[in-house]
Amino acid sequence: MTDERITAYLLEELTEQESEQFEEQCFAQDEWPEQLDAAEQELIDAYLRNELTSDRKRRFQERYLTTDARKARVLAAESLQEILCPVKPRSTWSEWLKAFFQRPLVPQTAIAALVLVTVVIVILAPRSPRTFTQIELAMSSSDRASGAQSEKVSLPLSTEALEIHLKLPEPSADTSGYTVQWEDINGQVRELQIVSKDSQSVVVSIPANQLTPGKYLLRLSNNNDVIGNYYFRAEALNR
């Protein structure tokens, strides 16, 4: 159960059959999974911070905000955000520009030149993804051909990249020699840059535009010795 799947459930992006399966999966557990509440809060936060795609924002308004209890939850979250992350009043661009050009001219020219150079650098520099769909994978004991159980990711992603947390089979004090290779659906093997790592997990990310439906393999190695494989399946979402 991933946040992405919970979000898809809440926004009614799943088919009726998938929704029912999802509910049965939740209900079959000893307790109703708290992960659902956590993911729902994050969905609400994302909506309030305007971080959802336009499609998801529309679905949130049309498919999620359908009961008073949910609307109240959103308003309460908004109040809390107001306390925790108050938005400072911002002057408009026109006000800022007006104030800028009312000052003596020499420093402004230098600042304007600096801003221009910065803008050019920012535009030309490769940009790291800023929004992520997260999944957590456990190491698999079987191979891809044997049809190992794998985590599902719905495509297209609503974020810029897929962030994958590879859980280590046991805590490791030294992860400095770890590398991760990625084998895509065509069998092409590439090195994946590790975003972060600690004693429990290694985190990598794959840009959304490099994912197509199919099964993927991630191979974790330590100083070129293979430690194990992780699998996930990317599936086109039925809307």
Binding site: E31, Q41, D68, P129, E163
Partner: protein, 182 residues
């Protein structure tokens, strides 16, 4: 004891009343979770209704191969009925929130009530919420939360659940305080 309730308890565990009670409570909690996720306001009443109907059907002799799926089926039906769980309480609460959304600084509004609730939390929880909710984006946010979890000596999942519970507590507090202003 209500006859339906008794039938359900017997069905859950005929020879051990304590165990039957525990299973009943577990089912009730899961149903509350389900109704909460579906956006029902009075989740407890909805769970009561589901289990009452389940007990009635069992007393009538319905075949129940899997009690979880049986109850979930009834709960779905209750949602489809658009039953009365979106109660007056919820509606009034929402009206209160919307009414005060535009309020002036002099008026008691939902922000000040939330602030009251927030300030009632122990210092540790306030600091935790403040740290957790730092408005970073994307990868930086994930990294920040991993570091915070590490600092506190817990997993990221455990931290997330802790924050979720705190926020749910704040929602309950906000409802309670706002009730005085309806």
């Amino acid at each position: 004891m209500n006859q339906h309730f008794s039938s359900l308890l017997t069905f859950l565990c005929a020879d051990d009343a304590d165990e039957a009670g525990r299973r009943y409570l577990r089912l009730h909690q899961k149903l509350e979770g389900y109704f909460r996720t579906r956006g029902v306001a009075d989740t407890s009443a909805a769970a009561d209704e589901t289990l009452d109907r389940a007990g009635r059907r069992i007393a009538e002799g319905s075949e129940v191969p899997n009690v979880d799926n049986f109850c979930l089926g009834i709960a779905r039906f209750i949602i489809k009925e658009g039953w009365r769980f979106n109660t007056r309480e919820s509606t009034a609460f929402l009206q209160f929130l919307e009414q005060h959304e535009q309020s002036t600084a002099e008026q008691i509004d939902r922000f000040s009530l939330m602030k009251t609730c927030f300030e009632e939390l122990p210092q540790y929880d306030r600091t935790l919420l403040n740290s957790y909710c730092v408005a970073l984006r994307g990868q930086a946010r994930a990294k920040h939360r991993r570091e915070l979890a590490e600092e506190l000596g817990v997993t990221v999942s455990a931290l997330r659940i802790r924050v979720t519970r705190l926020r749910q507590g704040l929602e309950v507090c906000l409802k309670k305080l706002s009730r005085n202003h309806w």
